[in-house]
């Protein structure tokens, strides 16, 4: 699959401060890409470079295999983390204005806006001012304005902040729908559960360097420690525990189950087979729980950043 965006050795300095150091990334067309990293790592700088708000000191950015240029602006939709609306302008008017800035003509912008307003059931907001809306309501408007011009590449920076769970789900569904319709999505967030849920690929930026990137599944495979969660209802738990101890490295259980009398995390060595473990525990006991420990995005994040 082709890349909609290729970032090649991009660096950016502000005075003595390095915001991005030689960062390279490829973003597959039609994917949801998680751009992760602690605060101040350089994510926003990278996003601003993609949006041509700032220029990189060195390196190249290709959009659809052509160097990033002013024409690309209309193919990109950006929902910044720090976002606002005009306080004194009506919702409809400013949505129309922002859509026109993205290159839509007045009529198209109006009809597209009406579609979205109906979809979100907010048609009666058109003449309201921002001051009359809640934060979540304003976020909806900002979301609409970001996607209205049907961009090929969408960049969402903390899109769910300010939403209640119901509206967050609504937005999440819309994001997935946009992806299904062919858009590529860059998704920057600190909420690892939504990364887990949405992202196929991720990149982790820490202290202006990219420290990790690839398919989320591959990364998880790399990070897993061959550990299995074991929960059994054994006739003789002490004997089984000793037996396990003699063959494997045991750690404290990291899971919650009911109806078992022995709970333990079992770490396998490279030459050991999980089937042998399963055979052993199923001999004189009822297996309640048997699952490989897959590191969560959250654990990967914390681990990588702390060990960087």
């Amino acid at each position: 699959m082709s890349n909609i965006l290729s970032i090649d050795s991009v660096s950016k300095h502000y005075g003595n401060f390095t915001a991005l150091n030689n960062v390279s990334l490829n973003i597959r067309e039609g994917s949801i890409f998680g751009l992760l990293g602690p605060n101040g790592a350089g994510k926003t700088t990278l996003i601003r470079i993609i949006n041509q708000i700032t220029m990189p000191d060195s390196g190249k950015v290709l959009f659809d295999n052509t160097p990033l240029n002013i024409e690309h602006i209309r193919y990109i939709g950006y929902l910044p983390e720090e976002r606002g609306l005009y306080q004194k302008m009506s919702i409809g008017d400013q949505a129309l204005y922002l859509a026109q800035l993205k290159g839509l003509d007045n009529t198209t912008a109006k009809s597209e806006l009406n579609k979205w307003f109906e979809k979100f059931e907010i048609s009666d907001w058109w003449d309201k001012k921002v001051t009359e809306l809640s934060k979540g309501m304003a976020q909806k408007i900002q979301f609409i304005v970001t996607v209205l011009h049907k961009p090929k590449l969408l960049i969402f920076d903390e899109p769910f902040s300010g939403f209640d769970p119901i509206n967050a789900n609504l937005i999440k569904d819309e994001i997935i729908k946009l992806r299904d319709n062919g858009a590529t999505i860059i998704f920057s967030t600190h909420r690892m559960e939504s990364v887990e849920e949405l992202c196929e690929d991720i990149a982790l930026i820490n202290k202006s360097n990219k420290i990790l990137d690839g398919k989320l599944d591959d990364i998880k495979r790399r990070f897993k420690s061959n550990t299995f969660e074991v929960g059994v209802d054994s006739d003789n738990p002490d004997v089984l525990n000793k037996e396990l101890e003699s063959r494997y490295e045991l750690t404290r259980p990291s899971f919650r189950t009911i109806g078992d009398n022995l709970k333990v995390n079992v770490k396998l060595k490279n030459n050991q087979n999980p089937n042998d473990l399963l055979k052993l525990i199923s001999q004189n006991s009822k297996v309640i729980h048997f699952k490989e420990v897959i590191p969560s995005a959250n654990e990967i994040f914390i681990n990588s950043v702390e060990n960087d």
Binding site: Y14, I70, Y86
Partner: protein
């Protein structure tokens, strides 16, 4: 380019639709007109009470020639001593008593005339009485000396030097007051525009920054276009305001003149040789008009527009940069101060040096410095400034505009996305280097 007009249009409509803008546009002329109306009304009430003045005329000819007017009525008291007259006058509760002794020569009469009153008389009333008496006694003197007054009137020559500059092009008849007044008005107008609309731009930039909508806009629009679009939009709103003011002022002044009549001063007493009142007024007006027409009007007109554009863009872009650099209005003050100082210096240099010598060295220097040239040069131009000087000054101004807009755009671009940091001059210099 389409961004540019979108931004300017939004800015324009937003300003025009703003409540305080509408209020300011409509109320300012009404308030000004109201104040003028009130003042004229009050002073006309004040003048309404005609002042009664009793006259004891022992000469027998002065009283006949005293002319009662709207505000002064003369009343003759016949054959009375000073004490008697005082008594009568006080009982009538007169404004005052004019006591004229009889002597042979008008000089002696003049020296002996007394004015007696309860309270100290108003300056204007005294002036009027004095000038009337002067005129009467002077004419009496002429008669005694056997001089024909009509002959004097007809033989009087009034000289107005006919001036021409060495290049002969303009026949500028000096009317310094008109020139200076006009120049000051233009300079003040520029000053007003620069500050009123400059700070409007600053507010607008700050509004976008603090509401964070700029984060959304900036991904579609180049910061430079956003800044210049804003400047244009606000300036158009400003022009609309001025246009509305012009229309309102002309309507008001129309009603004003028809209601009060021409309010030119009618201190006719000053005309010893009793020139006709109406003639005097119209000749004064004619003088003004001809002085006005003799101003280099075409030059003034074009210079005003060009200097306005230059000065406005120079300061507006600085104001935009300040608005982008700061987080709140309090922080803006430290950057506003030097700008305000520079403009006020320009204004004062203009006011202090131009009347002295419009082409003096100080005035010249300040009309080359881009930050002061629009104001100082506009004050000088009604007096005639060689074209080459204007061209040099404009060249400097517009190169500076390009430079300042470039610098401001740089500050704007960085500042607009920078929050929560108190910006210093050092910080800004760092931005400019990056």
């Amino acid at each position: 380019m389409e961004h540019f007009s979108l931004i300017a249009t939004r800015e324009y409509l937003n300003k025009i639709g703003n409540k305080s803008f509408i209020l300011m546009t409509l109320l300012l002329p009404i308030i000004l007109a109201g104040i003028t109306f009130l003042l004229s009304f009050l002073s006309s009430i004040n003048n309404d009470t005609s002042k009664n003045i009793s006259v004891v005329d022992n000469t027998g000819y002065i009283f006949q020639k005293l002319q009662s007017s709207d505000d002064i009525t003369y009343d003759l008291i016949i054959d009375s001593s000073l004490d008697n007259a005082k008594e009568i006058s006080r009982n009538k509760s007169d404004y005052g008593l004019l006591f004229i002794n009889n002597f042979d020569s008008p000089e002696e009469i003049a020296e002996s005339i007394m004015f007696i009153s309860e309270t100290s008389p108003s300056f204007t009333v005294l002036n009027k009485i004095e000038s009337q008496l002067e005129s009467i006694l002077t004419n009496e003197n002429f008669k005694i000396l056997g001089i024909d007054i009509n002959q004097i009137n007809s033989s009087k020559i009034i000289i107005n030097l006919f001036q021409e500059s060495f290049d002969g092009a303009e026949t500028t008849r000096v009317d310094g007051v008109v020139k200076l007044g006009f120049g000051f008005a233009l300079g003040m107008l520029l000053y007003f525009f620069i500050f009123a609309y400059g700070s409007m731009i600053m507010m607008s930039v700050m509004e976008e920054k603090t509401s964070r909508i700029v984060e959304i806009i900036i991904s579609s629009v180049k910061p430079f276009n956003l800044m210049t679009g804003k400047i244009i939009g606000v300036s158009l709103a400003g022009l609309t305001q001025v246009l509305i003011w012009c229309v309102m002022f002309s309507i008001f002044s129309y009603f004003f003149t028809t209601y009060f009549g021409i309010s030119a001063s009618s201190s006719s007493g000053e005309m010893i040789l009793s020139t006709d009142d109406a003639d005097a007024i119209s000749s004064f007006a004619l003088d003004m008009i001809s002085a006005f027409m003799n101003l280099p009007l075409t030059n003034i007109f074009f210079a005003f527009i060009i200097y306005f554009i230059g000065g406005y863009f120079l300061y507006a872009s600085i104001f935009a940069a300040i608005g982008a650099a700061v987080d709140n209005q309090a922080d803006a003050q430290q950057f506003m101060l030097p700008i305000t100082l520079i403009v006020i210096i320009g204004l004062y240099v203009g006011i202090l040096t131009v009347p002295e010598d419009p082409n003096g060295i100080v005035a010249q220097i300040f009309s080359y410095i881009p930050f002061t040239s629009p104001i100082v040069m506009m004050m000088r131009i009604p007096n005639g400034v060689p074209l080459y000087e204007q061209i040099i000054s404009l060249t400097i101004l517009f190169s500076s505009v390009l430079f300042i807009v470039w610098i401001s755009a740089k500050i704007y671009r960085i500042g607009i996305l920078m929050y929560g940091k108190k910006i210093t001059y050092g910080e800004i210099i760092k931005w400019l280097r990056s």
